[in-house]
């Protein structure tokens, strides 16, 4: 086989360029090239927005501010505190949501009883919980923790419920008929099936819960990421304000991509891709 034909095969139908210009064109058109172009494009768009609206700082100002803020020591403490509240609330939501979802999935009575309450819970926005807990508990740790728990819980519960519904009925009925105890039915049959759904629910819960903790801190806190963002907003310092937005958006995107997605891939590595969907 000639090298030309081999190269054509490798390039999946696209003839590969020769010479310097051709190679540059190939690099630009590759997947990595496309991604890099998209980031450059995004930065340019941000710069443009900064030029159009005087209240929106460009990327350079924001990075400068971030360096100052880190030197001042304002970043780490606030993040740690918010993370503590966030994970406490998420823990509550996870335990309650899984229990609720399992109960509703396994007993028709529980499902009929709680179905509508769960639908209402899904429809209530995080901002409502943030405002209500602020009115109820004032500026204490309870407000953000409960906001996260109440916002994330229905999403976890509804995904667990869907997971239980996806478990094969025949197996469940058979194990029931053969008198397998409830704990073993849950541990050895339902849980392995539900895990995928639990993960999806957890990811949803993390995204909505993170939003919840920020909202709650914005309205009812004197420390934490949400408070700090509001602090700069109230001070009319838009460099600081946008810098904190970049921080908390960056945190959740990186957490999702670098922690949750790999864990999910690892937990389900025994599955073939065909079985996934």
């Amino acid at each position: 086989m000639s090298t030309d034909a081999a190269a054509r095969l490798e390039g999946a139908g696209r003839p590969r360029g020769t010479g310097l210009l051709g190679r540059i064109r190939d690099a630009l058109l590759s997947n990595t090239g496309a991604r890099i172009t998209s980031y450059v494009f995004g930065l340019a768009l941000w710069q443009l927005l900064g030029a159009l609206y005087e209240r929106v700082p460009g990327p350079v100002e924001v990075v400068q501010f971030l360096i100052e803020e880190i030197e001042r020591g304002g970043v780490w403490d606030n993040f740690l505190l918010t993370a503590e509240r966030f994970f406490a609330g998420l823990g509550i939501a996870f335990v309650a949501g899984v229990a609720l979802g399992l109960a509703m999935g396994m007993w028709a009575f529980a499902r009929a009883l709680l179905k509508d309450t769960l639908t209402v819970g899904l429809a209530i926005p995080a901002i409502i919980w943030a405002l209500l807990t602020a009115l109820w508990f004032g500026f204490a740790w309870k407000a953000p923790v409960l906001t996260v728990a109440l916002t994330a819980m229905p999403f976890i519960a509804v995904n667990v419920l869907q997971g239980v519904e996806a478990t094969p009925r025949e197996l469940l009925r058979m194990s029931k008929a053969f008198g397998v105890p409830v704990q073993r039915r849950i541990r050895q049959l339902v849980l392995p099936f539900v895990m995928d759904y639990v993960f999806t629910g957890l990811r949803f819960g993390i995204i909505v819960g993170w939003n919840g903790v920020l909202l709650s801190e914005w309205f009812a806190s004197t420390e934490g990421v949400g408070w700090r963002t509001r602090y700069w907003y109230d001070a009319n310092n838009f460099d600081g304000f946008v810098a904190w937005i970049v921080l908390f958006v960056g945190f959740i995107v990186i957490f999702d991509r670098a922690v949750l997605v790999p864990i999910q891939a690892r937990v389900f590595r025994w599955r073939t891709t065909v079985a996934m969907r």
Partner: protein, 275 residues
């Protein structure tokens, strides 16, 4: 989000023998569920908190009655709905071409993959506060927020729809010499419409919430604006009343309007078709 819509299908009893009266027992459990919900609410209002911090269901019902009879409800819901629909239209107008590019070309798929993923996991508060800073309290803020939050879902769904197109159908159209316009009109559009709809329904609850959130942060009309005003007046009963109206309205729209419209649009499809 989409799960809220899925709940309706989940309600179909599939298990156990058809005992006579099973349907009645089911209905009884639903009624009992609401009784438990309101009972717990009343209990929490009387003992866990106090009626000022957490008004009971009857007080809230009374406040809802006041809001409805004052005509406020029509005015503010109309304001919010207009922003939602315009925002959605913009989201579809942005999301469909992006999804189209993503579904048809490897390069654009790689190009848009990260931005769409990021846009899908950005917390709603980001859109709300940025809209406030950029647009002030005008109606553009919520509108843009709705467009940005719905766009990734619509784009991803359109892309998935295009990738799922029967390639033999495309080849046959080409073999029979159909023009590009014909292929577009009779093959591509019908196959992506259900996916656009799935994207709209998936992001509807999300968009509705972000719209209200943006109004809480900065607006001069709409439900979110009224919720914020009640909060500032420390009136828990009004916060709850507006929330209840919000939830009722959202569920009604999702169940009756969107679901009906979807059924109407796809009435030509056989019943077994996966929706």
């Amino acid at each position: 989000m989409a799960d809220a819509a899925g709940m309706a299908d989940a309600a179909v009893p599939r298990r156990g023998l058809r005992v006579p009266g099973a349907r009645w027992r089911q209905a009884g459990a639903v009624v009992l569920g609401w009784a438990v919900f309101f009972g717990f609410w009343e209990f929490a209002s009387q003992t866990l908190f106090n009626p000022f911090l957490l008004p009971g269901p009857l007080d809230v019902a009374e406040a809802i009655g006041d809001i409805v009879s004052s005509g406020n409800v029509v005015e503010h819901f109309r304001a919010s709905l207009t922003k939602i629909f315009l925002g959605f239209a913009l989201g579809v107008a942005l999301g469909v071409p992006i999804g189209f590019l993503m579904g048809r070309s490897r390069y654009w798929k790689a190009f848009f993959h990260d931005p769409v993923m990021v846009a899908g996991s950005v917390p709603g508060i980001t859109y709300a506060v940025l809209a406030l800073v950029i647009f002030g309290i005008g109606p553009e803020g919520p509108l843009i927020a709705v467009a940005l939050i719905s766009m990734p879902y619509i784009a991803l769904n359109v892309a998935a729809g295009l990738e799922g197109i029967d390639s033999s159908l495309m080849m046959m159209s080409r073999a029979f010499g159909r023009s590009r316009r014909d292929v577009f009109r009779h093959v591509l559009v019908p196959s992506i419409t259900p996916f656009v709809f799935a994207g709209v329904r998936l992001s509807f609850a999300l968009a509705w919430k972000v719209e209200a959130l943006t109004e809480v942060f900065g607006s001069s009309s709409g439900i979110g604006f009224m919720i914020r005003r009640s909060y500032q007046l420390f009136s828990v009963v009004d916060v709850l009343a507006w929330t209840a109206l919000f939830v009722i309205f959202m569920l009604l729209l999702e169940r009756f309007v969107l679901l009906r419209l979807e059924r109407h649009l796809f009435r030509w499809r056989p019943k077994e078709a996966p929706s």
